[in-house]
Every structure is written in C-alpha cells, then in structure tokens.
Symmetry: C2
C-alpha cells in the first residue's frame, strides 16, 4: 500500500459508535476466548505509537491458577482498603459497585512497560521519561477498541497492588505494571459507563475542559 485507503463517512460514523460503545466491562461470560483472537488483538496493540519507536509493551497472559488467585486476592485487599476511605453514603454506594470481572473473565492479561529496553535508544524520553509508560497505554487502547469491534469486552483493574502482582508474575527486571486487564465476552452491552449508571460519577460536557492561551 502506498496510500491509505479512503476513510468515508460510513466508516467515520461507525468509528464514533465504536468509541461511544466501548466500555470498561466487569461482567463476563466464562466461555473461553480463542487464542487466535487474543493474538490478533495483541498484534494491533503493537502498531500503536511509541516514544522513539521503543515498543516497550510487554504482555503476560496470566493462565495459572496461583497467578490468577494472586491478582484476585490483591484486588480484594486493595478494594477493602479503598472502601475504608469512604464514609456514609459514598461508602454504601462504593460497597455496591461491581468493579472487576476477575472471577468470570476467561483471559487475564497483564500489560507492562519494559523500562530497561534499549529499543529507541532513549529518543524522546529524556525530559519526559513517563512517555515510555504512556506508549504502553496507547497500545492498550488499540487493543481495547479492536476488541470492542470484535464484540470482546475489556476491563481494566487498577484496584490492586502493583508490586504484589508484579512479583507474583515473575517478570524480568525493569518491567513496570501498567494495567491488569480482563478479556472475555460481555454479559451485557451499555452506552453509558457503569459508574454513571450506578450514580457514582456523571459525565461532564467537553467544552468545560478547554482553555485557550
């Protein structure tokens, strides 16, 4: 290909729908996800942009029961501690929220940034070294959108202890946990985020987020 294909009005409308219907999924069916589907999603993650073309994304398919249990237990501890930080109505609401799908999801995918990589030779990250981890976040968003197009749900669990999970997975030195993802077929589809539907936090109007200088 020497020129990009035309992205017409129909595609653009469908892309918008894809972004609107992408959700953080916490309710999964337990049936397995074909290996080939997961591999295809990771392939698309790996064409995300990265600082200095460093490609720092590293993927750990968490398949063994001890490793998956370590993630579930870490969530349980971190979630209990988080609950203790709320009082009154917020506490009661928080306790009712469904915040992860670790038990049901057929695929656990931990995503790391390899901070020891030599790829890219440090280009672009002398003054903003955090862009290495940001590159991994970009890869996750490629995967998330590609999954949504396939009808596959993705949930990002940030309520866990990154050090504990990293040690449990015995990853190489220099790998930093960016995200712990659940993948699988969603039980239900929604246009609104779970936290909005549950009354935790509504969405604001984008115009309020823009300044001119």
């Amino acid at each position: 290909m020497s020129a990009p294909p035309p992205f017409g009005p129909e595609f653009k409308a469908a892309l918008r729908d894809l972004m609107l219907w992408r959700r953080d999924v916490r309710r999964f069916r337990t049936d397995p996800l074909p290996d080939a589907d997961v591999a295809r999603l990771i392939d698309l993650a790996c064409v995300a942009p990265s600082v200095g073309n460093s490609q720092p994304w590293r993927f750990v398919l968490v398949e063994s029961e001890p490793c998956r249990r370590a993630a579930r237990e870490s969530f349980a501890r971190a979630n209990r501690a988080a609950l203790d930080g709320y009082d009154g109505e917020s506490r009661a609401l928080y306790a009712r929220l469904k915040l992860e799908g670790l038990h049901a999801a057929p695929v656990h995918l931990a995503v790391f940034a390899d901070e020891a990589t030599g790829r890219g030779a440090g280009l672009g990250r002398q003054t903003m070294p955090e862009t290495l981890r940001y590159s991994v976040v970009g890869a996750i968003h490629h995967l998330w959108l590609a999954a949504r197009a396939e009808g596959i749900g993705v949930g990002w669990i940030s309520i866990l202890e990154p050090g504990v999970v990293t040690r449990a997975l015995s990853v190489p030195v220099g790998w930093a946990l960016v995200a712990y993802l659940c993948l699988g077929w969603p039980v239900e589809e929604h246009l609104d985020p779970e936290l909005e539907r549950a009354g935790w936090q509504a969405r604001a109007t984008p115009s309020g987020f823009i300044l001119r200088r």
Copy 2:
C-alpha cells in the same frame, strides 16, 4: 440506542488499516484546521475511559505567538541537550531526524491531567494513582485515531521541558502536562514510522513481547 450497531468485517478491516496508517506526523501544511474539526476530535477524546470516570483530561489550544514560541524554544533546548547525549553515528543520525512540526502545524494542543479533580472521588486510583494520567493518554489516542480517519495528522512532542511549558501556559494549579500535540494536514502519508524509515529503530515481532504465567 439500546444495542451497539454491528461492526462487520468491512469495518474491522478498515479499523485495522486506520491503526496501521496512523502516524506521528512531523510535516504539516500550514493551512488552518477548521475549529469545528478540532472540537469534534476533542468530543471523541472525552468519551475515552477514565479511572473512576474522573474525566481528568484538560485541553489547551495554544494560539498566541508568545505561548507557541515558548513551546518551540523549549523543544530547541531539550533537543540540543538530547543530541549531546549521543556519540558518533547515532549523533549524526539524530541530528538529521525530523522530530516535530511545531513551526508549520496550524494547531498546537497541550493536553493536561487535572490531578486536583474531585470527579470520580478517587475511585480506582488509591494504589495506582498514575492511572489518572493514563486516562488522559487514552483520550489522546481517541483523538489521534479520529483525526487519522479525517485525514488530519497528529504529532506528539515529548522533547520539551514540561515545567517550562506548563508555566508558559498559565494553567490552573494541579494540572500536569501529559502531551504537547501538533495537529494539521499532513504533507505526506506513510505506512511505516518515520524512525523506522530513517534507520533509527525498526519494528519488532509482537510474539517476542508475550509471556505466559
């Protein structure tokens, strides 16, 4: 809408093309980008996922010459310092690279994370507070892909001094710079990253980035 539209094989193939043809653009035409186009891209950025539905993304349209000059000068200083970190062939190659399009791009868009936001009430970021900034990165990737579908190029400049640029833009306390973006019509289209084409860093095979545990 109570159910997502079907995303068929044609859409999925086009989405893959979109991701493959998304580039970090450094060569822009100087003709202006309609305000409505930029607003539409920001709208799509704002439906990205965010930790606790905190919506921490903040956008600064950098329009005044003093502010734009501050960004260009910061790049020039940071780039000179980066060059001094390389020797021999790497240094010569680095000096030849085109790493930004700050002069030609009609739109400069600085993107911040509002670390002081009360939205989301801290949900999901007690143990991994960096997920607030990661949420902003997700919004940037929505914008980037939506721009590519419109034929609009995006370039992310990380070679600058975040403190200097933040001060120059006089943003509210608590806003942390995540990215400084250039937007505009690209002069040329490529399927391969500039840094690969220039011989700085080739792309690796995704299978080498996967472990099983």
